[in-house]
Symmetry: C2
Subunit: 494 residues, 2 copies
């Protein structure tokens, strides 16, 4: 037996076991062409990639090291006797190989793959193989099986209420923080809407990042359900709920590879919503030349796939194609977006109109899930709940229930204005580029960092007039963001 | 600037850089979602995956650690000031994304991908994405472009002789060591045949492993060319020549994923042979129910692809489908195979007839590349060169030129016989299973380990008579191999 040791190395998702080259129990050459081992102790087991440590002062011969996350996952103290075994590749890799070879997989095949991925039995290389093979083609039934399998391996939320509504935006539009207005409107109306959101991965802010400016978002599941029972809504970080652990793992491969197929998107979204117990779901699908969905044809294909899978899962789905041609609101980055959201909820004069109208439209669709509300009456009802201050009250109650934010944060103090190189009319704003500039400015890691738009499409500008303002917290971020904005500001003036 | 430090950890192909969490120059959260960094110093640069070291005694704050292979690759002393940069993903990943999305790539696109892979700019996950996307479909012209690109990034051998012949077996048949007989026959005839071979990756022996029992196989390229000039042939390890570095990298992903498409096989083989300067190439394609190529249809498809790419490269190709229904010769494992080879070359009475006849047939095809030899005359000429001892003399000269083996090795001293559970006739031998048993017995790491077949297909056996003999060096290997052989010996008797 070897003795467990924690090796303080963060390996970002790849679990690594370390074995000494002088280990008397195993000849390292045995492992030479293998890359996966299983560490077991006290009925617990964990799959790791094996690295061999060459010299004794990093690791003693009778120790077995685990990288930080692997050690934490195994959850046993240092010194625990552990056994090390060659881990045969997961059997379900044969299913992946069949998919690579062009076969259509059955629900059982896909279920085995997803269960093994969720159990961390796949390396990133193997996950990539599965995802890329799926990107070549997937039948609708394969997407359905994938969605079901992903929901099955996670937690499931059980609700007393017969109707649980939810919304999801497929993303790609900076500043599009409608959830933080839609949830209070719907909650004020009286439909339960337990909104879980993600943090940004490649964007300048996720809804969880922006909500975190106003309230605690790291809420345990039981407490989240209490809050929804009392207040009809919440706006929490979804990472706590563990609704689709396989998705959380696959995303670490999808993002760097830029795999963003309709099939993966549908399975990812609907597996989470199904596990969260949603009965009625509104999907906001912004479409525009620099958005995620760029053509009518793409939008149609995605809509059909959502419909097919949603119906099979017994979910009522409404898909709304919205204008994704430019950012929504003015602020891009957590603090700046939170400011816009509160301006809309508080009906202040400077509240961004596009954000308000978009939120009302989306909320209206959700209200109309209620059979008691007449078709078309949702819009007026949603507006009334916003204008009357009922939505703002609901938001205050939700914030109070979730708990206060860790600290009050202001927009970044380093401010730099990007000015119009010529006079004219703003013809377009590039969502992708402006998001990148906001990210370089420091968002979302620096919550106060980001871009504050001063002109939108259609605005008249004079030469030298500011187009947008960069807010940064660090000098170096400011420099990177300014350089990129100077090179290509993402604003077309004619 | 950070100071370079060697971290004695072998990471098996993944190059890893280690940065301290207390590093004053970089905020580790900057790197949080990134996984590739570039380390640069003195005009040299290397791409790595970044790990963060949590505590100070593994790595000081102002040090930058590199895993063993990354450190050796950079080739600078410890303490060298180095810079660390976020490495943007290689541009050619956009080409991979287009391939994933279903596009056909041009020669330039493929050239960029292969150049970046050869420069270690791709992670294994990214290589997997490229390979699996290619497995979905590739046009013949994409395969040609891939072959050319793979040959272009490696070394190229230049020969004075106008005609350079070679042979390659696509593999899958244990004991099929014909190269070690074909090369001496062809060399004795007078055609230059610079044979480079691989070591075993998943099989019990590669030709380089078996030849190493008789001679040094780690021969520098210049010396190898001298030997071929003097002796007309050689049998060396191909790893030294660096003929297709991209292939060497891709294979570390293909093997564990089991990607073995005709397209990758053709590109891998022909890129190496093209870089090696071969003008005439014989391809041995064993076909059988447990071989790599299992059906006539697969064989035909592979043959057509070889023909298309070979012709475009200006190579004369002859493809021979051989019987791949059972192992060739008796020994499986380096020492046992070398014994069979020498028995054939020395015309001893117990030389395995199937190995001899297979080698003569293949050598005959190569001799007939010579326009001076009449069609059909190759067989008699090859046999004459073998029977007369001319081939054995050529082998002795090649061994002398390459240098002696490190030590004389005998078959493993731990011997265990696997006996027939019933009497009857041997109906089939399972190539795949017998190879696995030989590997469990210790081959190729233990050169004396392996399987020695005592019965072949068609042999009559009595109950309890030995079918094959296991040779092992280690007790544990013996136990594993015996267990597997007992469970399923791979011999069908009826």
């Amino acid at each position: 037996m070897l003795h467990l040791k924690r090796i303080g190395i963060q390996t970002y998702g790849e679990r690594v076991a370390f074995l000494s080259a002088t280990c008397p129990l195993y000849a390292p050459e045995t492992f030479h062409n293998l890359y996966r081992v299983e560490i077991a102790a006290q009925g617990k087991r964990i799959m790791c990639t094996l690295n061999i440590v060459e010299n004794g002062h990093l690791l003693a011969g009778d120790h077995l090291g685990l990288s930080s996350s692997a050690f934490d996952e195994l959850g046993l103290p240092e010194g625990t006797p552990v056994s090390l075994n060659l881990a045969p590749p997961p059997q379900s890799l044969d299913n992946v190989r069949r998919k690579i070879a062009g076969s259509t997989l059955g629900a059982t095949d896909i279920g085995q793959i997803i269960a093994d991925i969720a159990a961390h039995k796949y390396s990133k290389m193997e996950i990539a193989a599965f995802l890329v093979a799926c990107a070549a083609f997937m039948t609708e039934d394969e997407v359905l099986a994938l969605t079901r399998a992903m929901a099955a391996v996670g937690e499931r939320l059980i609700w007393d209420q017969p109707m649980i509504v939810d919304k999801h935006c497929i993303g790609g539009i900076p500043g599009n923080r409608t959830s933080m207005i839609v949830v209070p409107i719907v909650a004020a109306y009286g439909l339960p809407i337990p909104k879980t959101s993600s943090r940004a991965i490649t964007s300048p802010a996720g809804t969880a990042d922006t909500m975190e400016v106003l309230a605690n978002v790291d809420v345990p599941v039981a407490r989240m359900q209490e809050i929804v029972r009392a207040e009809n809504g919440c706006l929490v970080w979804g990472g706590r709920a563990n609704l689709s652990p396989a998705d959380d793992i696959m995303i670490t491969v999808e993002r760097p590879l830029g795999i963003d197929t309709p099939e993966q998107m549908v399975a990812s979204i609907l597996s989470k919503k199904s596990a969260a117990g949603s009965t009625h779901l509104l999907i906001d699908m912004p479409t525009g030349p620099t958005a995620k969905v760029r053509t009518e044809e793409q939008a149609l294909r995605l809509r059909k796939l959502f419909d097919y899978v949603g119906r099979a899962l017994g979910m009522s789905l409404r898909i709304v194609c919205t204008d994704g041609s430019q950012p929504i609101g003015n602020g891009i980055g957590p603090v700046l977006e939170a400011r816009d959201v509160m301006a809309v909820l508080n009906n202040t004069a400077d509240a961004p109109e596009d954000l308000r109208e978009r939120a009302i439209t989306l909320a209206a669709h959700i209200l109309e899930f209620d059979p008691r509300l007449k078709g078309g009456a949702g819009q007026a009802r949603a507006r009334e709940l916003l204008v009357s201050g009922a939505a703002a009250d609901a938001m205050r109650r939700i914030i109070a229930a979730q708990g206060p934010a860790a600290a009050q944060i202001n927009p970044g103090h380093l401010v730099h204005e990007i000015r119009a190189p010529r006079g004219g009319t703003v013809m377009s704003l590039d969502c992708y580029r402006i998001a990148r500039i906001a990210r370089l400015a420091g968002a979302p890691a620096a919550k106060g960092a980001g871009v504050d738009l001063l002109k939108k499409v259609g605005s008249a500008v004079r030469q030298g007039e500011p187009l947008y303002r960069l807010h940064c917290v660090l000098e170096t971020d400011c420099q990177f963001a300014c350089e990129m904005a100077a090179r290509e500001p993402g604003v077309l003036i004619q």
